[in-house]
Amino acid sequence: MILAWPFIIMISLSCSFIAWFLFRPISQSMSGDDSNIAINQQRQDELKLDIKQGLISDDQYQAAESEIISTLATELRIDTKESIAIKPLPWILIIVLICSVFSLGVYSQLAPKMIPSGNSLSEPMSMSDSIERLQIFLEENPDDFQALKMLGLAQIGIGNVEESIEAFEGAYLINSKDIDLLLQFASAIAASQDGQFGGKSKVLIDEALILDPQSIQVLYFSGIVAVHEGNLNGAIEFWEKALYLIPKDHPDRNIIEEALGTVLNLQVK
């Protein structure tokens, strides 16, 4: 990952660009003395214009002119130092070395150890490959919350419910305030209880509801818990609130509407 070809191209481009200007340096614009003379000359011209237009008197002109001359006298440096020529090649080598070694070195420290496969140039991995890579990663980083959460999700994806619960449990110990984790963890426990959202599963969803009572996902799951407890009115209340909050063209809207419709029918019967 660290030596991916785009990085090598980027380093090469930078070094070539800089090297070009070492071989063909930009010419110097002017010296400080030239600039100070020109600026003070311009001031003198402005003074002449002022006296011509009657804005200042002769005395004022004389005083101002002598001030300009004395200012310039203190500013001139008469720098006769000759510029020293350099051999570009050693400098280019140094720059190439610094650019490549330090940029890759710093990046290797900052870059993520793993990149989500969906956004990488590499081929998508199979679920079991992902689990294997996550397990290797977790051996080195056992306290990585995101990796544990991802492992739990991947395990449940291939039907390993117990392993999934174990991974979620680990993530929960690190961060018990992540709503997404609480919902996934509750779902995994429910899967191990034949789809029943009771016990710890309910506790987790209640925790999520306290953390974010406006979350559509939390409201949806709270509705499911309420249905499992036989509290149909409670479920209707949660889902109606979710429908109020969810935009009209949101893809999840249909799911909630369907669930609400089912419960309303049950109530009628």
Binding site: I18, M30, E67, Q146, P247
Partner: protein, 635 residues
């Protein structure tokens, strides 16, 4: 992979900034021109990679790449395109990237528009800018990485703060940052002059246009912020003396002092010490403001404790910038002693008064902003310093400043006599007193408004007479002069607008039933009811209010109450704007039976506040393109 390319581009620009600091410095001190002249190409290379990183992050927002934590935290698929693009700087990491991006834009601009500046000065300036950029890139990469990935990308991102889902986010922060970061340019010029030990005419000449342009952007940024707060927050206020607002206002006050001080240094070679301190102070305050806001210190002093890495870095960076500059200033102070003399009554004195008042005003705002934070940090209790303190302290300091800005353009440089100025302006003064008296008798008996009208007439009268006199003398009008006229008129317009809207504005918070009418300032507001309303990322209610004046319909207003996905309620005010007054309506809560609580505001001359701000900014731009800055030099 594109995200990794963006991340690597930032790392590469960090390494290039190191080269920018080291290589041209070696060239400058060993007199190796080829190495010194490498400063510009290094700036361009660095600018290119930072721009690439910025646009990669923007593309991640536009393509809903929720594998990037920053995108997942601040955007979702339902967010409209404009807000997705502006969400890039909607939170801490992205706004720091915008800071770095804007700094690179300024640096590239300096490197391009520098043909008339001596090579040594410009190369040294670019080295200083490279050092600033290095500090920010380190901060960005090591504590605030916007390209951080999520191991498990969510299918949907979070809601961008509904307050930020507005056109204002697209324009206000970039403009403000252009101003904030732009102050790095005068700072870099000053520092490079101090490092080189050449505090001559050249650095003063070339510092001023950059200071003017950045001051102009800062003015536009603050003006836009005030306008945004006015229509977005639903309170009808245009300035709240909120610490975040103060954080941008303090550098503006110092930058205002700086552009005036630079004019004295440029024209008379005086105030050099003062100018150097103002340039250092202006940029230090912009850093302080950025970090106070971005570190979260202003919302809670405990933000340092919750994120020690970020807080510690901020303190170290501020210490290095402010401390380093002041050490350099002390080291070179002997070179700053030379100053051309001026008498008590001279234009220099006027500009000195202006500077003292502006800096005093800045210190009063700084005290009011930091005092509660200091008390809280020392566990001495929690206090809140609000508008009553700022109005009581700030306004009296600024009134003499407004009076002085009208008179001193008439006073000659170096030395003048009171009798000459008095004879020149006596008719104007009689005219001002007469007009102010008439306005008190016939227009308003409000003391504050009368004072504001008096100040408005005072400034406008002096400025216009000066303009006419200059036209009559057939002297060629310089852009600098036109800029000054425009900016000073802008101050007058602002003072009148701010005072009249604050003193004569009317506010009513009322319950309205369907068909009910409320009369405010001669306008009848008829409430026609509220209907449900929704868009892709929110749902809510939209009110319908018709406004009549003398039975003639003048406006149809549609205030909204929105509920975003997070459930956060938002008030979207509806405004009927005009140059003389705004009619402003905000919807409160439904009270049952079709009745709603409604806030109605009548805001006379409120648009003058922002018009004044824009005039000041335009004036600064005019001054920055004066022909003096297009000087041709022959070696």
């Amino acid at each position: 992979m594109l995200i990794e390319v963006g991340h690597f581009a930032l790392v590469l620009s960090l390494i290039i900034s190191v080269l920018l600091i080291v290589v041209p410095s070696i060239g400058l001190y060993q007199n190796k021109t080829s190495l010194a002249q490498l400063a510009r190409p290094l700036v361009w290379a660095q600018g290119f990679w930072i721009a690439l990183a910025f646009f990669v992050l923007m593309s991640a927002f536009l393509s809903n790449d929720f594998s990037v934590k920053y995108v997942a935290d601040n955007s979702n698929t339902q967010l409209p395109l404009l807000f997705k693009a502006s969400a890039v700087w909607g939170s801490h990491e992205g706004s720091l990237l915008l800071w770095v991006f804007v700094l690179s834009l300024w640096t590239v601009a300096v490197s391009i528009f520098s043909k008339r500046i001596p090579s040594d000065l410009i190369n040294q300036t670019l080295v200083v800018l490279g050092a600033i950029s290095f500090g920010f890139l380190i901060f960005l990469l090591f504590t605030s990485n916007p390209f951080e990935r999520l191991m498990m990308p969510p299918l949907e991102g979070r809601e961008l703060n509904p307050l930020l889902q507005d056109f204002g986010l697209a324009v206000h922060p970039p403009m403000l940052y252009m101003g904030y970061v732009g102050l790095a340019i005068p700072f870099a010029f000053v520092l490079s002059a101090l490092i080189r030990g050449q505090l001559d005419s050249t650095w003063i000449r070339w510092t001023r246009p950059w200071a003017l342009v950045s001051w102009s952007f800062l003015t536009v940024g603050i003006t836009l912020g005030s306008w945004w707060a006015y229509y977005e927050l639903g309170w009808g206020g245009w300035w709240f003396w909120d610490p975040v607002e103060n954080a941008s206002f303090m550098p503006w006050l110092v930058a205002t002092a700086l552009v005036h001080s630079l004019s004295v240094s440029e024209k008379r070679g005086a105030f050099k010490q003062w100018t150097v301190l103002l340039a250092i102070g202006g940029f230090s305050l912009s850093l302080l403001g950025t970090f106070l806001v971005r570190s979260g210190v202003l919302t809670s002093v405990h933000a340092f404790a919750t994120d020690p890495t970020r807080g510690l870095f901020i303190l170290i960076f501020l210490f290095v910038v402010i401390g380093g500059s002041l050490i350099l200033y002390t080291w070179r102070s002997s070179l700053l002693q030379q100053s051309n003399p001026f008498s008590l009554l001279s234009r220099e004195t006027g500009l000195l008064i202006n500077n003292i008042l502006l800096v005093t005003a800045m210190l009063s705002v700084l005290l009011g902003t930091l005092y509660p934070l200091i008390l809280d940090t020392l566990n001495l209790g929690k206090i809140s310093v609000g508008a009553p303190y700022f109005n009581a302290v700030f306004v009296p300091i600024m009134i003499p400043g407004v009076i002085a800005l009208a008179i001193f353009p008439y006073v000659r440089w170096k030395k003048d006599s009171l009798s000459r100025v008095f004879n020149l302006l006596k008719f104007e003064w009689i005219c001002v007193v007469l007009l102010t008296f008439l306005s008190w008798v016939f227009i308003t008996d409000n003391v504050f408004v009368t004072v504001a009208v008096g100040l408005f007439i005072w400034v406008v009268n002096h400025v216009l007479v000066l303009f006419i006199k200059r036209l009559r003398s057939k002297a060629k009008l310089s852009m600098s002069f036109i800029g000054m006229i425009l900016a000073h008129l802008g101050i007058a317009v602002f003072v009148l607008g701010a005072t009249v809207t604050t003193q004569l504005g009317i506010e009513k918070d009322i319950k309205m039933n369907i068909g009910e009418t409320q009369t405010i300032a001669g306008h009848d507001f008829v409430f026609n009811g509220v209907s449900p309303h929704s868009k892709e990322n929110y749902s809510g209610f939209i009110g319908d209010i018709t406004v009549f004046k003398n039975t003639k319909k003048v406006a149809q207003l549609s205030p909204e109450k929105r509920y975003y996905q997070t459930g956060m309620p938002m008030t979207e005010a509806s405004i009927d704007p005009s140059i003389t007054r705004d009619l402003y309506v905000a919807l409160g809560e439904g009270l049952g039976g079709g009745a709603w609580s409604v806030r109605i505001y009548y805001k006379p001359l409120v648009r003058w506040i922002w018009l004044g701000g824009l005039m000041i900014a335009l004036g600064a731009l005019f001054a920055a393109i004066d022909r003096r800055y297009f000087l041709r030099v022959k070696s």
